[in-house]
C-alpha cells in the first residue's frame, strides 16, 4: 500500500486535521513505514476466524429507567470556549 500525497490529504480531510506544511513529507514517510509494518498482518491466516470485538463475554450494564435531575446548564457550559446565554456559540453554518 502506497501512501501518496493525495491519500495524506484525504486522511487529513477525514480526520478534520491539517498537518503543518513543514512536517507533511516526514508524516507521509512515517505513515508509509508504519503501514508497511502493519501489512505483515496479511501473512496471518485468518480464514474462517470470527472477528472479536470484546475478549470477555460482556453484557450491557443497564440502569433503572428512573427520572433523575439532569446536569445543570451552568455545568454543561462551564468549559465552552465561547457561549452566548445558555448556548454554545458556533460560526454561521448556512446562509
Amino acid at each position: 500500500m502506497m501512501i501518496t500525497d493525495e491519500l495524506v490529504t484525504y486522511l487529513e480531510a477525514l480526520g478534520r486535521i491539517r498537518l503543518p506544511e513543514e512536517s507533511r513529507a516526514k508524516a507521509q514517510r512515517d505513515l508509509q513505514e508504519i503501514l508497511q509494518y502493519i501489512d505483515t498482518l496479511s501473512e496471518l491466516d485468518t480464514e474462517g476466524i470470527e472477528p472479536l470485538s470484546h475478549a470477555l463475554p460482556l453484557t450491557n450494564v443497564m440502569r433503572e429507567d428512573e427520572v433523575q435531575p439532569s446536569i445543570p446548564p451552568e455545568e454543561v457550559l462551564a468549559n465552552a470556549p465561547v457561549r452566548k446565554d445558555n448556548y454554545f456559540l458556533v460560526p454561521r453554518s448556512f446562509e
Binding site: D39, L56, P91
Partner: protein
C-alpha cells in the same frame, strides 16, 4: 519513621495507629514534590487544597469513618482521569484549560477510601506514546537517570512513585501504559482485567483496550488499591462485577506448585541481552520458590503490534472526533466557518503523535480498506485470545519481559514512531486479550536502569499475579532499591 522508604500500606497502618497524622503525611509529600518535581516534572497540576483534604480525612479516620488500609495516604492521579474542578489536561493543549464538572468513578472510589490526592500526573498526549515526551507540558524525566525517559504513557505516575513524590498513583493502560513505565522506573504496576475498573471519567483513547490500574512501591500496595477501585459501575457499560482482589490472600500467597509458562517468542530478536538475562534469573528465583517453569511457543506474538495499532488507532480516530472546539477544549480565535473551526481547533490543539494516530485510524476504517485492516485485526485479536486461553489451560501464570529494553534516552525514539511502536511488543497482546498483567521490578541492566518482569494471569486472576509478585518481593529487594542521589540534592 522513615517516610521515604515506607509503602502505602505501612503509612496507612501508621496513620491508623496515630503514629503520624494524615496531615503530616501530606506535608511530607508536599516537601518531596517541592524538592524533586522541578527535576523530574512528574506533576502537571499540584492541588491547592491538599492540607484541607488531609485534615478532613484525618478527622474521618479518627471517628472511624474511613477504615481502608490506605486512608490518609497521599497519592497522585494520571492527568486523564476527571476530577471535579481540577484541571484534567490529558497532556494535551486541547484540554489544557479543561476543568471537569464531575469525577471519574475510580477517583471517586479511592477518595471514598480516604485517599489524599496530591495532583495530576504527566503523560503522553491522550495516552498515545511510550515515553511521556509527547505531553504539551513537556517531558517527564526518569528518577533513575534524568537523561532517560520514564516510559509512558503513565510516565508521570511511575516517576512520581519512584521519586517518592507520592506513595502510589493511578495510571491507565491501553497497550502497556502502566506496565512499561513501571518497568522503566523500578516500581510495581498492574493493569487489571478489562472491565474490572470503571472507565467512567477516564478520557477515552481506545475504549475496548483502556483500563485503569495502580502503580506503587510493591505488589501488596497494588492489591490494596485494586481492592478499592475494582467495583462494578452502572455508568460504564463494559464494567463487570468481579471478586475484587483479596489482600489477605495476596499476602499469604505461595507459588509452590504453581505452573508458570514462558513464551519462547517473548525472547526473540530485538530483546536486550541484559533484560533477557534479568528476567530469566527471576524465573529461576520463582523456580527455587517451588514453582514449575517451562517454555512454550506462542508464534502469534509477531502479529500483536500490527493488530494493536490498527484497533487502537481506529478507536482513537472515532473517540477523538468529539474534540470540535465547541463544547469544551481548545478553540482558536477568528475562524471562517464551521469546517475551519473544526480543522483549526484540532490542528492546533493536537500534537503530531495524536494526529498520526487519527490519520492511521481514519485510513484503516475508510471504505475499501476496512476488511483488509480493521476486520483482519479483529480476527488476529480472536487468535491472540485463543492462544492465551490455550496457555492458561496449562499454566497459572505467564512470565516474560515487559519491554525489549530499559529506559531510553530522551529524544531517542521521538522522531521514529515505528521504532517506538515496536517497543510495545510484549504488552499490547495483553490488552487485546483483555487479560490482567503486572510489571514487577526484577533487577537492573549494566547501566543501572531498572528492569521489570511481566506476570500475566488469566481473567480475574489479579490475586494470583499480585500474590506471586508479593512472594517474590519477600525474597528479593529490587523493589526496595531507590534511585541514587534523591536525598542529597
Amino acid at each position: 519513621m522513615n517516610l521515604e522508604t515506607m509503602t502505602a500500606l505501612e503509612l496507612g497502618a501508621a496513620i491508623r495507629k496515630g503514629e503520624i497524622s494524615a496531615v503530616e503525611a501530606a506535608q511530607f509529600s508536599l516537601r518531596q514534590i517541592e524538592t524533586y518535581d522541578s527535576r523530574f516534572s512528574c506533576f502537571v497540576t499540584v492541588q491547592d487544597d491538599i492540607l484541607q483534604r488531609a485534615e478532613e480525612v484525618q478527622k474521618r479516620i479518627s471517628v472511624g469513618e474511613y477504615t481502608s488500609p490506605l486512608a490518609g495516604v497521599p497519592m497522585g492521579i494520571k492527568d486523564n482521569m476527571c476530577q471535579k474542578g481540577v484541571q484534567t489536561s490529558c497532556g494535551s493543549r486541547m484540554l489544557a484549560n479543561f476543568k471537569p464538572t464531575y469525577t471519574a468513578t475510580a477517583v471517586e472510589e479511592i477518595m471514598q477510601a480516604g485517599a489524599v490526592p496530591l495532583g495530576k500526573l504527566n503523560m503522553d498526549e491522550f495516552a498515545m506514546g511510550s515515553t511521556s515526551e509527547t505531553s504539551w507540558f513537556g517531558a517527564t524525566k526518569n528518577p533513575w537517570n534524568a537523561e532517560c525517559v520514564p516510559g509512558g504513557s503513565s510516565g508521570g505516575s511511575a516517576a512520581a512513585v519512584a521519586a517518592g513524590e507520592c506513595f502510589y498513583a493511578l495510571g491507565s493502560d491501553t497497550g502497556g501504559s502502566i506496565r512499561q513505565p513501571a518497568s522503566f522506573c523500578g516500581v510495581t504496576g498492574i493493569k487489571p482485567t478489562y472491565g474490572s475498573v470503571s472507565r467512567f471519567g477516564l478520557v477515552a483513547y481506545a475504549s475496548s483496550l483502556d483500563q485503569i490500574g495502580p502503580l506503587a512501591r510493591d505488589a501488596a500496595d497494588c492489591a490494596a488499591v485494586l481492592g478499592e477501585i475494582m467495583k462494578r459501575d452502572v455508568k460504564d457499560n463494559t464494567s463487570v462485577a468481579t471478586q475484587g482482589v483479596n489482600l489477605d490472600a495476596v499476602l499469604h500467597y505461595d507459588v509452590k506448585g504453581k505452573k508458570i509458562g514462558i513464551p519462547t517468542d517473548f525472547f526473540g530478536d530485538g530483546l536486550d541481552k541484559d533484560v533477557a538475562a534479568t528476567v530469566q534469573t527471576a524465573a529461576r528465583q520463582l523456580e527455587r520458590m517451588g514453582a514449575t517453569v517451562e517454555q512454550f511457543d506462542m508464534p502469534i506474538v509477531k502479529y500483536a503490534i500490527p493488530a494493536y495499532y490498527i484497533i487502537a488507532a481506529a478507536e482513537a480516530s472515532s473517540n477523538l472526533s468529539r474534540y470540535d472546539g465547541i463544547k469544551y477544549g481548545y478553540r482558536p480565535e477568528h475562524v471562517d466557518d464551521l469546517l475551519d473551526l473544526y480543522t483549526r481547533s484540532r490542528s492546533e490543539g493536537f500534537g503530531m503523535e495524536v494526529k498520526r494516530r487519527i490519520m492511521l485510524g481514519c485510513f484503516v476504517l475508510s471504505s475499501g480498506y476496512y476488511d483488509a485492516y480493521y476486520r483482519k485485526a479483529l480476527q488476529a485479536k480472536a487468535l491472540i485470545k485463543a492462544a492465551f486461553d490455550r496457555a492458561f489451560e496449562r499454566y497459572d501464570l505467564i512470565l516474560g519481559p515487559v519491554a525489549p529494553t530499559t529506559a531510553l534516552k530522551i529524544g531517542e525514539n521521538l522522531a521514529d514512531p515505528l521504532k517506538m511502536y515496536l517497543g510495545d511488543i510484549y504488552t499490547v497482546m495483553i490488552n487485546l486479550a483483555g487479560l490482567p498483567a503486572a510489571s514487577v521490578p526484577c533487577g537492573f541492566d549494566r547501566k543501572g536502569m531498572p528492569v521489570g518482569m511481566q506476570l500475566i494471569g488469566s481473567y480475574f486472576h489479579e490475586t494470583d499475579i499480585l500474590g506471586a509478585a508479593h512472594a517474590y518481593q519477600q525474597v528479593t529487594d529490587w523493589h526496595k532499591r531507590r534511585p541514587a542521589g534523591l536525598d542529597n540534592l
